[in-house]
Symmetry: C2
Subunit: 426 residues, 2 copies
């Protein structure tokens, strides 16, 4: 098929009529399909059931003899700290095992910074007047909602396949002390699946923020979630920070929500010893410790970083066909039409689609009316506002392959209608 831009107005109107007919047929079918969130599906969750089958009597004592069923070991068991230190290329003293949700940890670090301040800061963020945060966009909607909740002004930073526009990051962070931090998903970014280049990671480590209490929220949610033979390499930011003496600037987060069980895994906070010590003191007021039985359950099941990687290979083998199916359906639907571009990630949970400007809201609305739920248009931008109204996040993990193929086909029809409406209105 000809690119839509090369069609005459009449050709476009004819194509619009064809697509509308296809759309009506889909609408009449009464679909109930969902591609909104990056959720694992039941079969994927089954991959971790052996972890729960372990004999509970083998999960009582840590190596140093702590009874994990009792209070204590606020920062986590030695074994858990060691495992995730190995996974992240850090030392156990850089790890704090923080519950089961990394989002919750990020929220907690943010609200603590507001009320109590951060290590090395002269006073709590909340006592410093209006605050700003840098938000690489499109990005993770829930990061942005945390800023919104706390009234922190968000500044959009354009994303590239190499990571955020670092000139702009430097410009804001190094000139304005009210800029307190930046949200990053450095590997298989949400929603693009981009991985920050070595140069980008080094530029972060080399940052000289105007604020003495600036923090990089390094949400390494998809660090072990490559699903192809070729896994994108990500530089270890802490190694690079050592070169610049900036270790205290980075808060790293990960969890096993998409390794074992969503919301019932373990969450990890990784930071400099200064930050860990500061946090542990603050945490001693908040809790007597997080669920250590679940920590031991994870550690005894994975045994090592290699064991965890082996487990993620199973996840990859399950997820890859879904992504391949989604990508094939998109190529099939859009190929040669020149009305959209989409990312082709090697890992993570999302595909980011950019249509013609002014088509995203319309497409999501058309999909909804045909029974295909998508993440709201604009969700990946601060305040939910996509300046060009063109970005849509595709989450292929939860539907079955059949549902996914159907969903993407319908999505393609909707996007074509939206594009033709824009083009014929010109």
């Amino acid at each position: 098929m000809k690119a839509y831009s090369e069609m005459t107005k009449n050709e476009r109107l004819a194509e619009l009529a064809v697509q509308k007919q296809l759309y009506q047929k889909e609408k009449a079918a009464g679909h109930a399909l969902n591609m909104t969130r990056g959720k694992p599906d039941a079969t994927q969750l089954n991959l971790s059931m052996d972890m729960l089958q372990q004999n509970p009597y083998d999960l009582i004592y840590t190596r140093r003899g702590t009874d994990v069923r009792n209070y204590g070991e606020l920062a986590g068991t030695d074994e858990a700290k060691e495992l995730f230190a190995e996974v992240l290329g850090l030392k156990p003293e850089n790890i704090f095992m923080g519950g089961q949700s990394s989002l919750s940890l990020m929220y907690d670090m943010m609200i603590k910074a507001l009320v109590l301040g951060v290590y090395g800061g002269s006073k709590p963020w909340g006592q410093q007047g209006p605050l700003k945060f840098l938000c690489p966009a499109p990005g993770y909607d829930r990061h942005f909602r945390i800023c919104e909740e706390f009234g922190i002004e968000m500044i959009s930073i354009p994303m590239t396949p190499q990571g955020p526009d670092m000139d702009m990051v430097r410009q804001y962070a190094e000139s304005d002390p009210s800029v307190k931090g930046i949200w990053c998903v450095p590997k298989y970014s949400n929603p693009q699946g981009y991985t920050y280049s070595d140069e980008t990671v080094e530029a972060f480590a080399a940052l000289k923020p105007a604020a003495d209490d600036f923090r990089i929220f390094w949400d390494n949610a998809y660090y072990v979630h490559g699903f192809r033979e070729k896994d994108d390499p990500l530089a270890n930011i802490f190694d690079l920070c050592k070169k610049y003496g900036s270790e205290d600037m980075v808060y790293e987060f990960m969890s096993t929500s998409k390794v074992t069980f969503a919301g019932a895994g373990v969450a990890v906070f990784a930071a400099s010893e200064n930050n860990i010590e500061f946090l542990t003191k603050q945490m001693s007021v908040q809790t007597l410790g997080y669920d250590k039985i679940n920590q031991l359950r994870h550690v005894r099941y994975f045994k090592s970083a290699a064991g965890l990687k082996k487990h993620m290979k199973k996840q990859a083998d399950y997820l890859r066909p879904k992504f391949d199916c989604a990508l094939a359906a998109m190529e099939n639907g859009f190929g040669g039409l020149g009305i959209g571009e989409w990312t082709k990630p090697n890992g993570g949970y999302f595909i980011s689609f950019d249509g013609l400007p002014g088509t995203a809201k319309r497409t999501v609305q058309l999909c909804a009316e045909a029974g295909v739920a998508l993440t709201p248009a604009g969700a990946a931008f601060p305040y939910g506002l996509d300046p060009e109204d063109k970005n849509i996040r595709i989450a292929p993990s939860y539907p079955t392959t059949e549902q996914l193929y159907q969903s993407i086909n319908i999505f393609c029809i909707c996007e074509k209608i939206a594009a033709l409406e824009v083009l014929t209105a010109e």
Copy 2:
């Protein structure tokens, strides 16, 4: 033996010499005993191991078909809300299942009140200048540490066997809008084991605070922790609040840390529907939900409030002899000497001991030097300051009965020495 107050100075000096001799003997024995915290012991934790032995494949789906291994159901599964509603005499819509630590929930409710405000409040607590909190004392040290962390001024309220001095509570709460709340452990209070009388609970419900955003932090940590035939009755504060239209004033907390596993149980927040709705909206920014596998694990194991009570009967049968042993050892050591009073609780985890004024710090120090670790003197008071230096918290749950008997014997010797030092110095 004669009461110390009736002894002559020479008799006291002779008795002091005897006790010092006994003390030296104990010190030489090189004890390493610990009565610092209200921790369950390993045998007690074993009572819940069957919960972990359930087939994990029976713990996947809720009644409504939610896969608990996945994201969702932010406020908790229906089953968990129903179980704890039944336990607390409330409706499921009054329950929010909040992780595994009620202390963490309390901290979270406090920091959210500071930054975001509470339901019905005109602005966040943190934007209202210096704040105060009422602290029935002796009370739970970790409650007080939360206030201290946030710079909230603590006002001590004397405790009686019927609960806090309600005239004083009324006086402060109803006259001063900077008084934002009060900490309560209404049943088997920490450290006394007192249970608030019906009159006290009703006086709380009838409170008309000057602040429109006042909150009673009703930490019902020991609600199901009676260990004698006779269980202290506690009035349902929400029932009484209905009479006064004050339901929004109460935040109730409980957890299964001392029902199943300390730090690996489930925590419960109970409140009015207004408060629950307000919290759930706030929580939707913070997390995608707490560990629902653990919720289902608990629900399927207990089945009902009756099942949970039956389980607590086992805990009671295990704890009661420890308390009886501690109480007998104290009666044996102090009986007739007139130098101390202690509580004789029907439940909970503690005994509160009041010695002669000016003896608590000295006793704890002497115990420490003889290898018996006690909670620091004054810990049960705001800022750790016991105005009379006489209160010591005894935690009989963790040591074995043998260790407990030894520990209390040594404690008695130390307290006698401290008392005789005070009396002979007069």
